[in-house]
């Protein structure tokens, strides 16, 4: 064998060996992802994971956890350093909780060409960064989402209803522009079975308003939106609690009044989107809808299909920040990469799914957040109701609350809200007692953390 031939044979052998080794390594990699249930999780498990494995040989296992266990389980596994998951989904309010266990994505973003500018600045701020890891990017957004108001078009546009409303309230029946108007509208439409609504006899009661009121996350998610809309943030730049403001009690009174007088009792079992089935079936006049529930509302054959008005949440008149519309928190979530040996491969998968497959991600997950999603004709024409929904949703996203990503957020704000509204709603404590309790625990936590002297 001549020299060049030998060298070529050696080089070929090395290349073959390297190729085989790479393939073997790729096939050995299994990325494990702790997911929140929903269309996006289904999309990962059923569509993107198999497709990625077919393309790269790398297996992705999505483990869908119950929503109320997701943070606890990930937190416990992370503290225990078990390496059970390479990727973890969570809403940004809790990013700080994982500050010691997730990697800075900045180098991975640079090396893979992940385009951060595709996301609106508020989403970057909320779903990628955290006050607990300043100067770093610790997550990428998968499902940034915010709730909006939905209303039954046939009820609002029926002449009998319009006349009756005008007679009772002295103004036209329109989709509420303020929270006070929403209370009137909700009371107006709350009717027992046998009553008339839009010219039809009701077989079941009609309720004027509904949101998830189930214990824990349900009632918290619903109420905290009202709280933020009133201009409260929990605390100011100096970490001094602002929840000692009397407006907190006004929001609690509004919420408990609506929950007790205009919402179905079943709502107290709802954790998130369950109530939208009642809207779909024609038993609710208005409701709060997270975009993940759009498919339920517009389900074929339902009374709300093609008969739903979409709007941003109404304004809280006299709110502390001068907001012109309701201010939901930017919820949904993002994905962080745990400090495991698979971190690079895990991020490559995320980049592939969210950016190389950008439009497909929007189609499969029914989540819209990037400039590409809103500019895509393909997505806009995908469903007949997107023409009404998307503009209202874009408006909703223009005024959202970015939750503070400090490690204490979950304990002092989210669970503080849970305890406050639960105790006021149930009557276990008076509004003032619950408020004082919340202010004290927040002050104490911030003092212990060194934010307050």
């Amino acid at each position: 064998m001549t020299g060049p031939t030998r060298r070529a044979a050696i080089a070929g052998g090395l290349a073959l060996g390297f190729g085989l080794a790479t393939t073997a390594t790729a096939q050995d990699v299994t990325i494990r992802w702790a997911l929140h249930p929903g269309a996006e999780a289904d999309a990962v498990v059923n569509y993107f994971a198999p497709k990625y494995e077919a393309e790269t040989g790398i297996k992705v296992i999505g483990e869908i956890l119950p929503p109320n266990q997701l943070r606890d389980q990930m937190s416990i596994e992370a503290i225990g350093k078990t390496g059970r998951w390479d990727l973890g989904y969570h809403s940004p309010g809790w990013f700080g909780t994982f500050k010691d266990h997730v990697v800075d994505l900045t180098p991975l973003i640079e090396s893979t060409g992940f385009d951060v500018s595709k996301y609106p600045p508020l989403i970057v701020e909320s779903h990628m960064k955290s006050d607990a890891r300043p100067g770093e990017i610790i997550a990428v957004p998968t499902t940034p989402a915010a709730p909006m108001m939905i209303a039954r078009q046939d009820l609002f546009e029926h002449p009998d209803e319009q006349a009756a409303f005008k007679e009772k309230y002295g103004r036209d029946l329109t989709v509420p522009a303020t929270y006070a108007e929403w209370r009137d509208v909700a009371e107006f439409f709350t009717r027992p079975a046998g009553a008339m609504a839009a010219g039809e006899t009701l077989e079941r009661p009609l309720y004027g308003w509904a949101d998830a009121l189930g214990a824990g996350a349900g009632i918290t998610r619903s109420y905290i939106v009202v709280l933020y809309s009133a201009g409260l943030a929990g605390w100011g730049a100096d970490f001094k609690p602002d929840i000692d403001n009397p407006i907190l009690l006004e929001t609690a009174n509004w919420f408990t009044h609506m929950a007790q007088n205009t919402a179905p009792r079943e709502a107290q079992n709802w954790g998130f989107l369950e109530g939208l089935e009642m809207f779909r079936d024609g038993h609710l006049a208005t409701a709060v809808m997270w975009p993940q529930g759009l498919g339920t509302v517009e389900a074929e054959g339902g009374k709300a299909a093609g008969n739903t008005l979409y709007a941003a949440l109404p304004q809280w008149e006299g709110n502390l920040k001068g907001y012109e519309q309701g201010v939901p928190f930017l919820g949904g979530g993002g994905v962080f990469v745990f400090d495991t040996p698979n971190q690079q491969e895990a991020f490559k998968f995320l980049k592939w799914m969210l950016q190389d497959q950008e439009i497909e991600w929007g189609k499969q997950s029914e989540q819209f957040s990037t400039t590409g999603h809103f500019a895509s004709d393909e997505l806009r024409n995908l469903k007949p109701y997107y023409a009404n929904f998307l503009p209202a949703y874009e408006k909703t996203l223009q005024q959202v609350f970015i939750r503070q990503g400090i490690p204490e957020y979950g304990a002092v704000m989210w669970n503080g809200t849970t305890e406050f509204i639960t105790d006021v709603f149930s009557g276990d404590l008076t509004g003032e007692q619950a408020q004082q309790r919340w202010v004290s625990s927040m002050t104490e936590a911030f003092t212990a953390a060194g934010y307050l002297k």
Partner: protein
């Protein structure tokens, strides 16, 4: 054994004397008894203590009461297929509490289709939201948990009943005692130590019950079924305040230790009386 039992206890005590948050786990600050003062000054802790007491008492009364009754009926001569009945009665006990809780929530207490409201509406009664009403949720959880615990009582009482000599029943019958007089005058005095034994087992079980209540109501509505274990969970996991959670848990241990000591003392005296 000392290590197995002692380690979690010592760790629990240690955490209860510290400020420990899950989100900042390595930053633990010794605070002495501050967590205990805070807990006992908190109206919600006192409320959880009260709810736990009511829940435990309700479970003991129902479980012991129905346990004796069912065991007594099972022990009757007329009962055929006794092993089958025993096996049937044991099913709730071998069922995982959380599964039992979910099953009762969706099939028994459910407002529209639940068995209780179906029966109630058949007889023209109302259809309340059993688990959403503050007035009924605690009763519903007590009944459900008792359903889970009654088989244990049945098992112990039935075994005890089989040891009562037939001569005693014969003598009772000769003296003209009916079934319930026999239960009251013959059976119950003999069962006294067994009642104490079953009671302490049920008290310890009900006092720390979590899964069943969590599956049924999650501690709600409001705080109406928030027992101490759920309160501790909320503080420790939801609020990430492991210091306070361990304070509550260790307080539960102390309360239970005192009750168990009283019961064991009483049990020994009862055995002494019997001897």
């Amino acid at each position: 054994m000392v290590i197995v039992v002692g380690t979690p206890l010592v760790m629990g005590l240690r955490y209860s004397l510290h400020r420990v948050f899950l989100y900042d786990f390595n930053n633990q600050v010794f605070v002495g008894l501050e967590n205990y003062w805070k807990a006992f000054a908190d109206p919600l802790f006192v409320n959880a203590l009260r709810i736990t007491g009511l829940f435990t008492l309700g479970c003991v009364v129902l479980s012991v009461g129905f346990g004796i009754l069912i065991a007594f009926l099972l022990n009757a001569r007329q009962v055929k297929l006794r092993p089958m009945w025993m096996a049937l009665f044991l099913i709730p006990f071998v069922m995982t509490p959380v599964v039992g809780g979910i099953a009762w929530r969706f099939f028994i207490w459910q407002q529209e289709f639940g068995v209780v409201n179906q029966i109630s509406s058949y007889f023209g009664g109302g259809m309340p939201f059993w688990l959403l009403e503050r007035d009924t949720a605690l009763y519903a959880t007590i009944i459900t948990n008792s359903w889970h615990l009654i088989p244990l009582a049945v098992l112990v009482f039935y075994a005890a009943l089989t040891t009562i000599p037939d001569e005693l029943h014969e003598a009772g019958r000769v003296d003209g005692a009916g079934p319930f007089q026999a239960l009251w005058y013959i059976v119950l005095p003999i069962l006294r130590p067994h009642i104490l034994f079953v009671s302490i087992i049920i008290i310890t079980s009900a006092f720390r019950e979590f899964d069943m209540i969590w599956a049924l109501t999650g501690g709600g509505p409001g705080r109406s079924t928030t027992v101490l274990s759920i309160f501790a969970y909320n503080r420790g996991i939801a609020n990430q305040d492991m210091g306070m959670a361990n304070t509550i848990a260790f307080s539960m241990f102390l309360i239970m230790a005192v009750i168990a000591w009283l019961y064991i003392t009483l049990y020994r005296r009862t055995l002494g009386d019997k001897a």
